[in-house]
């Protein structure tokens, strides 16, 4: 039995609930300038490990790029 989440707009399956920090590290995100939007709430890197991903969660990883 798996749980489903929406990650960056696409559906993904996870085997179990895991801390956000571990999840992102596993995906290869590397530095601390990212921000995560979790169910509409903003989480900075220092807060990621305390947050546990649950079924149905919506996650977006965001950062700033060049723009005019």
């Amino acid at each position: 039995m798996v749980m489903r989440i929406i990650f960056n707009g696409r559906e993904e399956e996870l085997p179990e609930e895991i801390p956000l920090g571990d999840y992102l590290a596993a995906k290869g995100y590397r530095n601390e300038l990212l921000v995560v939007q979790h169910n509409g709430q903003i989480y900075r890197p220092g807060e990621w490990q305390r947050l546990i991903i649950k079924p149905g969660d919506q996650l977006d990883v965001l950062h700033f790029v060049g723009g005019g």
Binding site: I42, L62, F64, V65, G66, G67, G68
Partner: protein
């Protein structure tokens, strides 16, 4: 030089910098160091795994004013959502509202822009809306709480120059709020022209980012903006139809 105050901050450089399209982010801090640019726009985007690029913020000195834009927004709600996200991410209170439905010319939707401005200004944002030049829409933006109004000079990224002078001139003359010409300026002379007729500032991105030497072009724009502002304050002389001699008109030995 009269002072320019936006959102309670004194703006010391009237050249605002857009950070898109540069060949390398490393140019940004160099340009800022060289020109003293203070207001810098950035964009917010989702990062997919394995596609993570550098974060722009790492390249912008701490004393700059960050102005995230809402690019990608197609209506007021999307713009509002992006603005809130950017603020939550620690970008501060400034936001450039940009609501666009047109993919060929990237021309803005003034009506949605006014709506977004009203909501965000009430939430304490310092709102600088990008807009299609229009006196009435400009007044509504001011009524909605805009800190400055930013009509376009020509379509984004075209380097076509200051093609909307007639409408922008009227906005400058009639609206008390600072008018900033944003988008399309391609040459320093065009930035100087906008400043000469009374624009409070200009926002330039493509003309600098796509120049052969972006650092030098940024410097050129910075000089031109100062030149134009100073000429505005110095009071240009009258334009006449007939010649007026600069040397005494008596024949030399008559």
């Amino acid at each position: 030089m009269e002072r320019l105050i936006i959102g309670g901050r004194e703006i010391t450089s009237r050249l605002f910098l857009g950070t898109g399209k540069f060949s390398s982010y490393r140019l940004i801090p160099e340009i800022i160091a060289r020109t003293g640019i203070q207001v810098v726009t950035v964009a917010l985007r989702r990062v997919d795994p394995g596609k993570q690029e550098d974060d722009m913020l790492a390249y912008i000195p701490g004393d700059c004013i960050l102005m995230p834009n809402t690019s990608g927004a197609r209506n007021a709600e999307e713009a509002i959502r992006i603005a809130r996200l950017a603020r939550a991410m620690g970008c501060g209170d400034w936001v450039k509202i940009e609501v666009i439905n047109d993919n060929r010319y990237l021309l803005p939707d003034n009506e949605e822009t006014i709506r977004a401005t009203a909501v965000l200004a009430r939430e304490g944002f310092i709102v600088l809306p990008y807009m299609n030049p229009d006196l009435t829409a400009g007044r509504k933006l001011v009524d909605a709480g805009a800190a400055a109004v930013m009509p376009l000079g020509s379509p984004i990224g075209t380097n076509r120059g200051f093609k909307t002078r007639e409408l922008v001139q009227i906005m400058i003359d009639e609206i008390k709020c600072p008018i900033i010409v944003d988008a399309g300026l391609g040459r320093p002379s065009e930035a100087a022209e906008a400043m000469e007729i009374g624009a409070a500032a200009v926002l330039v991105n493509t003309a600098i980012a796509t120049a052969g030497d972006p650092l030098s072009m940024a410097d050129a724009f910075s000089l031109a903006v100062r030149a134009g502002r100073q000429a505005h304050l110095a009071g240009p002389g009258e334009v006449s139809a007939l010649a007026r001699a600069s040397s005494p008109l008596t024949g030399f030995l008559d």
